[in-house]
């Protein structure tokens, strides 16, 4: 008996405070996160599958899904391309103000989304600094679905840069030198040696940016125009339904979004494990 107790301690650790800290953590996690989330799923249960399906296949809801997922996909793709470029420039090149720019990349994490929203709407409206340059060519960004893409690109910008940067910093120069000495030109070295090493991290950053964009609300609603069927994102539709006291509809939409979020979370976890394995 005494023997098994001591092996248990050895396996678990000898420091004090295990039950207290784990107990408090699990209790707090249940109260703040798990119980409210489960309550939402239970609230959707009375709808039944048919009722749930009817809500999430209404034309206005389907249009919001198309915009939300389409714009998120476009924004994550833009971020994958430019994020790789920004990470490359920050790691490989020296230029004036590099540290400042590096710190500024995290601005979308730190800037309140409402502030980003009104700033982007002002900047990209037809009278704004950027918008008025594009208006003569008939390109309208603010108050169109393009505006949604712009806001989601802003919000997802740090994810790709910050997942690629450490991989690029640790990249072994020997590999590039070997490729060059075997006669590869610079583009061949990048596309066949460097890029495959970055690919898992790039995909992870893409998925993180996409997951963030799908749920985003604050930065989008000011620039989107919010026209039903055209530029109305799903999170806004949840709020609209809530304001019309359509609690069942709002709950059904929320559950559909939670299912997507959890699927993305599991995908990202799997991607990160894969990226980690590829590193060694």
């Amino acid at each position: 008996m005494a023997y098994s107790f001591s092996t248990l301690i050895q396996k678990r650790g000898v420091l004090p405070g295990f039950s207290l800290t784990l107990g408090f953590s699990v209790l707090y996690l249940c109260l703040i996160v798990l119980i409210p989330l489960s309550a939402t799923f239970l609230k959707a249960a009375p709808l039944g599958f048919q009722g749930f399906w009817d809500v999430i296949t209404q034309p206005r809801v389907l249009a919001s899904y198309r915009l939300t997922f389409g714009a998120s996909l476009a924004a994550a793709t833009i971020n994958a391309f430019f994020g790789l470029l920004v990470a490359w420039v920050l790691v490989r090149y020296d230029f004036f103000g590099k540290k400042l720019i590096d710190a500024l990349v995290d601005l979308p994490f730190a800037l309140p989304t409402a502030v980003a929203g009104i700033a982007l709407a002002t900047l990209y409206s037809s009278k704004g600094w950027v918008g008025h340059l594009l208006a003569p060519y008939g390109i309208k960004i603010a108050y169109t679905p393009l505006g949604v893409v712009v806001a989601l690109t802003f919000i997802g910008l740090p994810f790709v840069v910050r997942t690629i940067q450490p991989i690029l910093e640790d990249f072994e120069s020997e590999l590039e030198e070997a490729a060059a000495s075997l006669g590869a030109n610079r583009w061949q070295t990048f596309s066949r040696v460097i890029f495959p090493t970055l690919a898992p991290a790039l995909l992870t950053g893409f998925a993180l940016a996409f997951a963030r964009a799908v749920g985003e609300y604050g930065s989008v609603i000011f620039i989107a125009g919010n026209i039903p069927m055209v530029s109305e994102i799903t999170p806004l539709l949840i709020i609209t339904k809530l304001e019309q006291y359509d609690y069942a509809g709002a709950t059904a939409l929320a559950v559909s979004m939670l299912v997507v979020s959890f699927t993305l979370l599991l995908t990202i976890n799997a991607l990160q494990r894969w990226a980690h394995l590829r590193k060694f």
Binding site: R12, G13, V14, L15, G17, F18, L20, T21, F24, S25, Y28, L29, I32, P36, L37, A39, T40, K43, F82, L85, V86, Y93, A103, L104, V105, F109, A110, L111, P112, T113, A114, V115, A116, I118, T122, L123, G128, W129, V130, F154, L157, S173, E176, E177, S181, R186, T189, A211, G215, E216, Y217, P235, I238, I239, Y245, A254, M257, L258, S261, L265
Partner: protein, 292 residues
């Protein structure tokens, strides 16, 4: 003569690891243009618009009673949410990093859960718990307790969206530090609290501050989740971001951007502190590497 082979090989090494000049310039210009349009200009436009009608309008917008009440509520919310999530973060990191138990990786995944939930849904889940139509709504109403469309709802929604910040910073940091130092203190007769205050806390302070500053930025800046539970009652349940929205929708652009510039300054201070803490974290990490 003797130095030629070395410099030649250095030159070759340099050449194989970098691109031709015109490629470098093109990449730099494209990257700058992208960062200009998506980071620098949005930040600049906030301050330019804020001062577009002069100092007096700017100051008046900040000192207006509703703005002050919104600022007070924002500070109060952060003052409750940040310490609670800090205590949780420390407790979770202590149990996860210092002990072995079943279901650890599941616990880590569950702690990250709030980050993957849409802010709007984060607010909605509390409406469905405590609102009039919610599970506990009728009971709360019978006892005359109002959580939703009131300050407690705002605090709860903020707690949810800022839940993982401190924990996800401390867990990997404390895991990398192991348990040897704490075990040595234990052998020397230190109590649990003494170990934490004198051994663990000094080791994790920069990571802890890093988590706290990010947690605080999100707590003060949260919009979507708070918007759902707030009810937008001026002077009562409006935080600063919600106040910005109201002013902007009333076409009071200068005032909206004045308040927004306050939040943007907070973001800039956050970024500066974050870089500072990151620098210390790196120093600590290289120090541990060189001593071990």
């Amino acid at each position: 003569m003797a130095s030629t082979p070395i410099s030649a090989s250095a030159r070759i090494q340099h050449r194989v690891r970098t691109e031709p000049f015109w490629v470098r310039m093109t990449l730099l210009i494209v990257a700058f243009a992208f960062l200009l349009g998506f980071l620098l200009l949005p930040l600049t436009v906030v301050f330019v618009q804020a001062f577009s009608k002069g100092w007096s309008v700017y100051i008046a917008a900040l000192l207006e009673p509703n703005a002050l009440l919104a600022a007070r509520l924002t500070l109060l919310t952060a003052l409750i949410a940040v310490p609670l999530n800090l205590v949780f973060g420390i407790a979770a990191a202590w149990s996860i990093a210092k002990f072995e138990f079943k279901g650890k990786s599941l616990l880590i995944t569950l702690i990250d859960l709030p980050f993957s939930v849409s802010p709007v849904v984060s607010g909605l889940i509390y409406v469905l718990m405590f609102g009039l139509q919610g599970w506990l709504g009728p009971w709360l109403q019978a006892h005359d307790i109002k959580l939703i469309f009131a300050v407690p709802g705002i605090v709860l929604a903020t707690l949810f969206v800022t839940f993982p910040f401190v924990a996800r910073e401390l867990i990997p940091l404390m895991q990398s530090q192991g348990t040897e130092e704490e075990e040595a203190a234990l052998v020397l007769g230190a109590s649990g609290w003494q170990i934490f205050w004198h051994v663990t806390l000094p080791n994790i302070r920069w990571g802890l501050l890093y988590g706290v500053i990010l947690c605080n930025a999100r707590a003060m800046g949260e919009f979507g989740a708070v918007s759902v539970v707030s009810g937008h009652i001026r002077g009562q349940t409006n935080t600063l971001p919600l106040h910005v929205e109201i002013l902007y929708n009333e076409y009071n652009s200068a005032a909206a951007f004045a308040v927004a510039s306050l939040l943007a300054s907070l973001a800039l201070v956050t970024l500066a502190l974050k870089s500072f803490f990151e620098w210390h974290l790196k120093e600590d990490a290289t120090l541990t590497e060189s001593t071990s």
